[in-house]
């Protein structure tokens, strides 16, 4: 096996493992005993997805997807903040 094939194999395997991590986090979303548990699990899933997108950018050699990953990180942060605010106060905007 030559070097570029090995490089692509390592990247695809890492992306698959990160996807399995995101899938395992859904267990905590579904089962999680309290609501903050679910919020933490959703935050972890969004971070895993950011990692998967960066790995895809490397594997497909398209630098555009790095920008997509940053945007997903921003959306994940806003989601977390809104979820926490809704949990504490029962309303997002007073």
């Amino acid at each position: 096996m030559n070097a570029p094939e090995l490089y692509h194999l390592v990247l695809v395997a890492c992306g698959a493992i990160a996807a399995l991590c995101a899938l395992a986090c859904t267990y905590r979303v579904v089962v999680g005993p309290t609501v903050p548990d679910r919020a933490v699990a959703l935050d972890t899933i969004s971070t895993c997805v950011v990692g998967i997108v960066v790995v895809h950018a490397l594997e497909a050699d398209r630098s555009f997807f790095v920008l997509v990953a940053v945007m997903l990180a921003i959306v994940g942060f806003v989601t977390t903040v809104v979820a926490a605010k809704y949990l504490t106060e029962g309303a997002i905007i007073e």
């Binding site: 267990y27 548990d37 990692g51």
Partner: protein
């Protein structure tokens, strides 16, 4: 272990190939750079796995947040660093650095907000419940 061995062989094989192609114009990144990218992605995947295992195994919300907010941030930041190594210091590489800074600023903020929400919802700490 075997992964580290195969990475080492990748570097060795790529070095010999690069020596053969030294006369031509370089199309694409050098093999050493690709090896560094692969190693950083493997490290990032390891930290993502550690964070997920902590999320699944720890007993209460605060412990789970302790596991995920640090390990997962480090994993994603390592992957962004791989993007910086691959796509160079300008353009998408600069975007990767911005992504690292953004992750390090926002992940603790989000974890703090959720833990404060859990405290206000009277979620008991592990060992504190009756």
């Amino acid at each position: 272990m075997s992964l580290a061995l195969s990475l080492g062989t990748a570097v060795a094989v790529a070095a010999t190939e690069g020596a053969g192609e030294a006369g031509h114009a370089a199309a694409g990144p050098s093999a050493l750079r690709l090896a560094v990218v692969a190693a950083l992605v493997v490290v990032g995947t390891f930290f993502l796995c550690v964070g997920t295992i902590g999320l699944l195994r720890f007993p209460d919300v605060y412990n789970r947040m302790h596991a995920t907010s640090k390990a997962t941030t480090l994993g994603a930041a390592s992957m962004f660093l791989a993007g910086f190594v691959r796509f160079g210091p300008f353009g998408a590489g600069l975007t990767s650095l911005v992504g690292i800074v953004f992750l390090f600023v926002t992940a603790p903020t989000g974890a703090h907000l959720i833990s404060r929400a859990a405290r206000k919802l009277d979620v008991e700490m592990y060992g504190e419940e009756e």
